[in-house]
C-alpha cells in the first residue's frame, strides 16, 4: 500500500505551506495532493506557486496530483478549475462534477472523496470517463467497500481516507466568519487564525466538530491504524492522511513503519497519540456512526 497526503484543508500563510511541503520531501509518503479544495477566497498561493511546489516534490520522488475546489458556484471558480485541468503536466483530482466534465476524455484523473461514488455502476462509468483512481467517500463502511472492490474495473486504484479529521460537510455559509460575527464577504481571512480549524463543542464540553470556513470536519481524528491488515485484505491501494498543523510528517513516518511491519499496529496507535489533540474514531469503517470507536461503549 502507498501513502498519500491529502490537500491541506486549512488556510495557512504561504510560508507555512512552503515549509510543510519542504518537510514532506523527505517523508515516507508516495503521493501528494496539492491545491485549495475548500474556499476560493483563500489565495495565499496561486497556481504558479502550486506548480513550483509540485516540481520540487516530483524531484523528491513523489507523485503529485492537483486537487480542485469542492463547491463551485462562481464563473471565476470555473475559470480557476479550467486552468488546473489544462495544466498539461500533473493529473488532477476532481472534487465536483464540473471537474469530471472538463477532465473526461483528457486522460487519467482521480475521483476525489467529494464525488458521490456509492455503487459499482457509478465506479465503472467514472472509469470509462478516464478515472484511474477513486477516493472512497468517507461515510462508506467496509462491507460496501468490499463489495465495490470485488467489482471494480481493472486498473482502477482505490484510495481510503485513513488518518485525520474527517471532511464531513460543505456549505455556502462560512462558519468561521459566522463565529466572529462577520459576513462571509468581509471575513478578513479569519481562517488564518485557525491552522487546525476552529473546534465546536457541545454544551456539556465535548469537542464535537471543527469549523473550517465553509467546511465542517470531525473534531475526532479518524484513525484506521489498527485496521491496516483489514485494509490490505480489501486490496486498498493507497491510504490517505490529512494534513494537520503539526506532526504530519511524524504521523506518516509512524504509519509507514506500521505498514512495513517494523512497528505493531497497537504500538503505532500508541505512538500516534502524541499528535492527537482529540479522541480518535473509526466508526465508518465498522459500518457504524462515524464518531464511534471500536472497543468503546456505545451510547444510544
Amino acid at each position: 500500500m502507498k501513502i498519500s497526503i491529502a490537500p491541506i484543508p486549512y488556510f495557512w500563510e504561504k510560508d507555512r505551506v512552503l515549509a510543510f511541503y519542504q518537510q514532506l520531501q523527505d517523508a515516507p509518503v508516495d503521493i501528494v495532493y496539492l491545491g485549495e479544495t475548500v474556499c476560493s477566497k483563500r489565495r495565499e498561493l496561486g497556481l504558479t506557486n502550486w506548480l513550483a511546489i509540485a516540481e520540487q516534490l516530483t524531484v523528491a520522488g513523489k507523485e503529485v496530483i492537483l486537487s480542485t475546489l469542492t463547491l463551485i458556484e462562481a464563473e471565476s471558480e470555473l475559470a480557476g478549475l479550467k486552468q488546473i485541468v489544462e495544466n498539461n503536466r500533473y493529473p488532477v483530482e476532481a472534487n465536483d462534477m464540473a471537474a469530471v466534465q472538463l477532465l473526461a476524455g483528457r486522460g487519467k484523473f482521480v475521483i476525489g472523496p467529494h464525488i458521490n461514488t456509492y455503487n459499482s455502476k457509478t465506479l465503472a462509468l467514472l472509469h470509462e470517463m478516464g478515472a484511474s483512481r477513486w477516493v472512497v467517500p468517507v461515510e462508506l463502511g467496509n462491507k460496501t467497500i468490499s463489495s465495490l472492490q470485488n467489482n471494480r474495473p481493472l486498473g482502477l486504484e482505490t484510495e481510503l481516507f485513513t488518518y485525520g479529521r474527517l471532511p464531513l460537510a460543505f456549505s455556502a455559509r462560512c462558519f468561521t466568519a459566522r463565529a466572529h460575527n462577520r459576513p462571509k464577504d468581509s471575513c478578513e481571512f479569519i481562517c488564518l487564525d485557525y491552522p487546525d480549524g476552529l473546534t465546536m463543542y457541545t454544551q456539556d464540553k465535548a469537542s464535537f466538530l471543527v469549523l473550517n470556513g465553509i467546511q465542517v470536519q470531525s473534531a475526532a481524528i479518524h484513525n484506521l491504524i489498527t485496521h491496516l491488515d483489514e485494509l490490505k485484505k480489501q486490496h486498498i491501494d493507497i491510504i490517505r492522511i490529512a494534513p494537520q498543523a503539526e506532526g504530519t510528517t511524524e504521523i506518516s513516518t509512524i504509519i509507514k513503519h506500521a505498514l512495513d511491519g517494523g512497528l505493531s499496529q497497537d504500538m503505532a496507535a500508541k505512538q500516534l497519540e502524541q499528535y492527537q489533540s482529540n479522541n480518535v474514531c473509526d466508526g465508518y469503517w465498522n459500518d457504524q456512526a462515524g464518531m464511534s470507536q471500536s472497543g468503546s461503549p456505545v451510547d444510544v
Binding site: L78, Y118, S120, A179, M200
Partner: protein, 331 residues
Amino acid sequence: MELICPAGNLPSLRAAIDNGADAVYIGFRNATNARNFPGLNFSPEEAIEGLHYAKESGKRIFLAVNTYATPESWKEAVDTVDTAAEIGVDALILADIGLMQYASHSHPDLRLHLSVQASATNRHAIALYHERFGIKRVVLPRVLSLAQVQNLVEKTAVEVEVFGYGSLCVMVEGRCALSSFVTGDSPNSAGVCSPAHAVRWVETPSGRESYLNGVLINRYKNKEMAGYPTLCKGRFQVNDKVFHAIEEPTSLNLLEILPDLLKSGVTAIKVEGRQRSKAYVSLVTRTLREALDACLADPENFTPSSDSIAQLMLLSEGSCHTLGAYHRPWQ
C-alpha cells in the same frame, strides 16, 4: 412558473393538487429517497392512485429516487426505477449517475430530473448530467445566490427548479455526512438526517435537553420552545460563546423575490416537506399558489400580502424566515 409541492401520503397528494400545485413529488416506502421516515411515503398501488388523481386535473407526479444506492441497495433502487417507468410517473428525480445511466438506457422515454442531492451548483456539472443522461431539469442546491441562479438559467440547456419554501439545509445537499457521523445514517446512504431513532429527550431541573445518539444537541430553558434536534440546528459552544454555530432553526421563504425568479426564467419553485402533514401541505400550497398567481398577473407591482406572510410564518421552523443564500449577505 410551476409550483411543485411535496406529499408523504395520498391525502397530502390530493390536498396539494386541490390547492393549486402544478406537480407533486413523492417517494416510495423504502430507502431510495431522501425522506425515508417511518409511516411515510407511497406503495406502488398508492402511487398509481395518486397518478390517476393528478391526471384528472391535468397535473403531474414526480418520483424521487434520490439516495445513493450502495451495492447492497442497488437492486431495490433499480426495481424502483423500473416500477416508476411501468406505472408512468411524469418524471424521475435522480441523484446517482449509475442509476441515471440505468434509467436513461432502460427507459429512454422516461423524463429525468436532477435531484438537489446531486449537488450540481454550476453549469459544467449540469452539462455533464444533461449530455450523458439527458436530464431535462435541475433542482438547484439551496446554496446559490439569486444572481448565481440567474446566471445558471442563462447558461444551461435544462430547466431550472429552485426551492421556494420549507426547511433550510445549510449544507450543500448530497455533500453532508454529519448525520452519519453521529448516527450512522445519512441523507446520501439512508435517506434520513438526524433520524428519530437516535433522538433522546432528557428533562432536567433547569429545562430540557435534546440528544442525538448521545451527543448533546441543545438545551432549552423552562418554557422555551424546543425544536427537533436536527444536528446542524443545535446550540454549541465556539470560542466560549454558546449559539446556533451552524444554523438557526428557520425556514426558507422566497415570496419576496418571486418577481426576480420569474424574470430570470426559473421554470419551477419547489416546496420542501414530504414529511409534513396534510394541513401543512394544503396551507403552504394555497398560499404560494395565490402569491404566484398574483405575481404572474402583475410581476412589476407584486409584493407578498401580509396575510400570506403571516400564514407561512405560523408554519415556519422557529417562527422565522430567511431568504437563505439567495440573499447574498447570508453567505
